[in-house]
Amino acid sequence: MNILEACYVAGSVFLIGMVISFVVAAMIKSIFTVIKFRNNSSAKQKGWKHSPLATNMPQAK
């Protein structure tokens, strides 16, 4: 055991911890983005189906 090696270990622990923390943060952002995208697209779909244009549109024969 020497102090230099301990410093190296501590530095590695910090770097790995930092990378994983930012990966977690990025995961949060992407979960948000995916859910918002899904909500927006389903809202648009719902809006289109229930819009006056959709309900008054003549059915294709």
Partner: protein, 404 residues
């Protein structure tokens, strides 16, 4: 009539005279400390939930030493050092706290129960609202957890012991307990006691650190709360299960902690009321109560009298001090990135002593400006601190045993 010595009748007293002077002095000192902890806990100077049962255990176990079979001295409370299965079966039937110690404490189950309770009480939405700034502050607030490791090695501890005491910088009691149980079983009693004693002092000590490092005009910066988006229960559950799975995949050794915490969060967000009331009531308070008693009972003079205790005391306070400084540095980084719109006081909440440090941040902000509301951001940093502490626990527990 048989000749009965008064000292044989009162064995607690006679063992005081029959022990080495150092053990006698340590027993008397620990009895006094136990009484002091009960007093300070009852006065709310220290955390009463831990300190009152711990003080009782400490005073009682050091008074109740008696002569056991073979003339050796001990107690009928607990034997933490027993390893032989046959002896353990015997002790389980004699020492009244041994079943709780063996089946919940020495395998880390009690730490997981407490972590589950923390998960149920946690509002994770604030982390999801500002994930990058919360995580940045939280990782900066792990400065003590990282920097204490080489300092501990320089002071003569081995890697396992150094990693265990360094985790005090994470300011999370169950995490320190878990790490020391995994890495330094011989020292887990003094390390955990040092951790809980110091964690009780954060509420009193950190406000001075904030005043020393942050000028009053910066402490009073108002945060823009309109930027906090609404987070639905579904988003929180999605985040919990994905993060838990990924972290468990990366660090299987710390998976019990991850699972406990995120399960607590999910149970709450799923609205399972019976589970929530069970986990945040009987499970959390029951675990905290028994952990307090066991920590106190483990402070028996023979067990705790270790030449390394002074080093642990110094390193514990150093770890918490460095983490506080690191957290405030993280707050300053966010202050500069946001061009002066971020209150650096929030940095202290990166130290994951939930919810104490978040309350310390809010109190410091309010003292400078009564309209400065920083609590939502502080809680976000606080919860991120719990996640980063768990991540660093996972890294230490996985990495350190691989080192020669």
């Amino acid at each position: 009539m048989p000749d009965i010595s008064i000292l044989n009748l009162f064995q607690g007293l006679s063992t005081l005279f029959a022990s080495d002077t150092s053990i006698t002095v340590a027993r008397l000192a620990l009895i006094a400390l136990g009484i002091l902890l009960v007093y300070l806990g009852a006065k709310n100077v220290l955390e009463p939930l831990i300190m009152i049962p711990m003080g009782f255990g400490m005073a009682s176990v050091n008074a109740a030493v008696l002569f056991l079979s073979g003339g050796r001295m001990g107690t009928i409370f607990i034997d933490p050092l027993i390893t032989d299965p046959a002896q353990l079966m015997n002790i389980l039937q004699i020492d009244f706290l041994q079943p709780i110690y063996t089946f919940t404490f020495s395998n880390g189950l009690i730490a997981c129960f407490i972590f589950m309770g923390i998960g149920v009480m946690t509002e994770i939405g604030y982390v999801l609202a500002a994930p990058f700034s919360s995580m940045l502050i939280a990782i900066c607030a792990e400065l003590g957890t990282v920097a204490t490791f080489p300092i501990a090695v320089a002071m003569g501890l081995n890697y396992n012991e150094a990693a265990s005491i360094a985790m005090v910088g994470g300011a999370d009691g169950p995490m320190v307990l878990y790490t020391s149980l995994m890495l330094a079983k011989d020292l887990f009693v003094p390390i955990t006691i040092v951790a809980y004693l110091y964690l009780s002092l954060t509420y009193g000590g950190y406000p001075y650190l904030i005043k020393f490092l942050i000028p009053k005009r910066l402490r009073g910066i108002q945060m823009d709360l309109t930027k906090i988006p609404t987070v639905t229960a579904g988003e929180k559950i999605a985040f919990s299960i994905i993060t838990c799975t990924v972290l468990s995949l990366l660090f299987p050794v710390a998976a019990p902690l991850f699972m406990s915490f995120f399960l607590g969060v999910t149970v709450k967000e799923a609205g399972i009321k019976h589970y929530v009331s069970f986990i945040e009531g009987p499970l959390l308070y029951g675990s905290t109560f028994f952990m307090g008693i066991l920590l106190g009972v483990l402070c028996e003079a023979n067990t705790i009298l270790n030449p390394k205790i002074l080093i642990l005391l110094v390193l514990g306070i150093l770890a918490l001090l460095l983490s506080g400084i690191g957290g405030i540095a993280g707050g300053y980084i966010m202050y500069f990135i946001s061009k002066g719109k971020f209150n650096p006081v929030i940095g202290i909440a990166g130290v994951s002593c939930v919810p104490t440090t978040a309350k310390v941040a809010q109190k410091a902000a309010t003292e400078s400006n009564v309209q400065a509301l920083v609590l939502p951001y502080a809680i976000g940093a606080n919860i991120s601190g719990v996640i980063t502490s768990a991540v660093l626990t996972g890294i230490y527990v996985s990495l350190v045993p691989l080192l020669k």
